[in-house]
Symmetry: C2
Subunit: 337 residues, 2 copies
């Protein structure tokens, strides 16, 4: 049995709901979770706890290992190099360096093995851009910090479903232009490997969605299903994995269909995100595939409109921490085998 290591949570955008979520997660669910610590300003978190009437002790720590002994009595918080003052609902460029420091140090701890896994609270990209942030998103920044030139891939996972979109933040027309046999094969291989390594599924079953209505109905409703997607499936099948499709997109997410696969590879952002958010909005977790470290995050944004109102729901963050722990344990078992 390896020695126990805590997970690390980032602060996220301090004008959003991240602080409230970290506090509520410890207050309500610590008995269900392995120890974690937060890279955040302890005074800020104490103020939020007090203003929301949350009964949370804060324990300032200087080393991740301290989180293990503190966790049952207090939320372990490791301070940043600056204090963080922010107005709920109003992100400011002033706090951008602290947001980035929290992420960078969390990556360092995870990469060096002093944290078991990284769970990120949501950030507000616009504010970071004003402070010189140059990445299209959170995940790309993480990949850059980790190094090695990996192309991270987003999976959303919930109790009902695991989905992976081929492309993410591009216009739908661009997503159609970028669709290629290669892109599907690359993503398919990565997803199959992740299902084995991270989700402990020995013989993964991968469903590949069609692009057009009815998956093109034999070419009558669009050619991509036959000319681009089917060849990729044939290539993926040669690896011996159970891969099937192109499945008519609207048939892919019925309860009966969901029983038939471990993950669905989707041809564009909303083909993946519509069904999982419809079915499991509060329990969907964003998992980054293709990185050497384990990283998850809740599947929601900074929710500036409800910041500091005490009504933010920590369910998705709780699910993200649980999933990060499960994935880490699955990797440890694989490595030990």
């Amino acid at each position: 049995m390896p020695e126990k290591i805590p997970c690390v949570l980032t602060m996220g955008e301090p004008a959003g709901i991240g602080g409230e979520l970290s506090l509520k997660t410890w207050a309500l669910k610590r008995h269900e979770l392995e120890p974690f610590f937060v890279l955040d300003d302890p005074i800020r978190l104490r103020n939020i706890a007090s203003s929301l009437g949350l009964d949370v002790e804060i324990s300032e720590i200087t080393d991740p290992a301290q989180a293990l002994s503190e966790f049952s009595n207090a939320l372990p918080v490791m301070p940043l190099s600056q204090s963080v003052n922010s107005t709920p609902g109003l992100p400011s460029v002033e706090t951008a360096p602290a947001v980035l420091e929290s992420i960078a140090r969390a990556v360092e701890y995870t990469q060096s093995g002093r944290a078991k896994a990284l769970i990120t609270n949501p950030i507000q990209k616009e504010t970071l851009y004003d402070a010189g942030f140059i990445f299209p998103g959170h995940t790309e920044y993480l990949a850059d910090l980790v190094g090695g030139g990996m192309q991270p891939v987003m999976m959303l996972a919930s109790p009902s479903l695991r989905v992976v979109p081929l492309t993410v933040h591009v216009p739908l027309r661009v997503a159609l232009d970028q669709l290629s046999t290669n892109l599907i094969v690359e993503h398919g291989l990565l997803v199959i490997a992740a299902l084995k390594r991270d989700f402990a599924i020995e013989h993964p079953r991968l469903a590949v969605a069609g692009l057009n209505p009815h998956a093109g109905e034999g070419g009558k409703l669009g050619g991509e299903d036959l000319s681009i997607i089917a060849p990729a499936i044939a290539i993926l099948q040669k690896t011996g994995a159970k891969v099937f499709g192109p499945v008519p997109p609207d048939a892919l997410f019925t309860p009966r269909a969901r029983d038939g696969y471990d993950a669905a590879l989707c041809m564009y952002h909303d083909q993946a995100l519509i069904p999982i958010k419809a079915l499991d909005f509060d329990r969907a977790v964003n998992v980054t595939l293709g990185l050497p470290i384990v990283r998850t995050s809740p599947d929601h944004g900074t929710a500036l409109d409800i910041a500091s109102k005490g009504i933010a729901d920590p369910s998705s963050l709780v699910c993200a921490i649980k999933m990060a722990i499960d994935i880490s344990n699955s990797r440890l078992l694989k490595a030990a085998a």
Copy 2:
């Protein structure tokens, strides 16, 4: 109180599950439904009932009104002008004239007021094409039979959700090319009118979906949300109806979002069909808007692969009959007001 009138069901593709569904619906759910009759071959239905061990009496009728007195004791069936012999799972051009006769006569009865509403069992278009059928689908054939040049629009309705896709059976790229402010306004007006007249909602709330991820994120992820969809919403709002959007597509179908509208206008086929089939596969009903007669159908196909096995689930047909009755009653109340 208007005099009682029965609903009419069509035969649908005789090699599919339509006959089994009509029989099971009567056998299992007649006590929950107003009287209906089927335009089908009585001998064929008797044979299916006997081979599947369904305890269903068949009563041959020659006039729709006879269905009212017969319904509690037997399934009323009005014969077609030819007998129908078919092999389960194997559609044949031989039976195409009977399939079309069943639809045409059902439309006649509904249009002349001798049937209250029309519920269609699924058909196999390919077989009908071989027999000279020239319409892109069932709904277009009905619109032609009804006359008046109306453009019918498909709504899918279930306990969780009502959705209307702007375009249906075209490739996704063509759906993007066909997207226009006019098309959205036309569909929006029709849906608002239908929510009032057919669903008895006095002040309908219409959500309009965005096209791109995050509804384009202010233009960064695609321009159509701002340039095409937003202007249509502004025009629709001028009618006084509550219309809002463009809503990020993946946010539109969460439980909380669904509480905020009576119908969602969707920018393409799968944006509408993915969420409703994920949430309510067995209870989704296809409702044709824009016709003077009431027409619904179950939201599934002919299911040739399970024809005559006794495992077909009549839930969607039962929901379709109930919804047809509700819509007819709503229209009668409106007309009487």
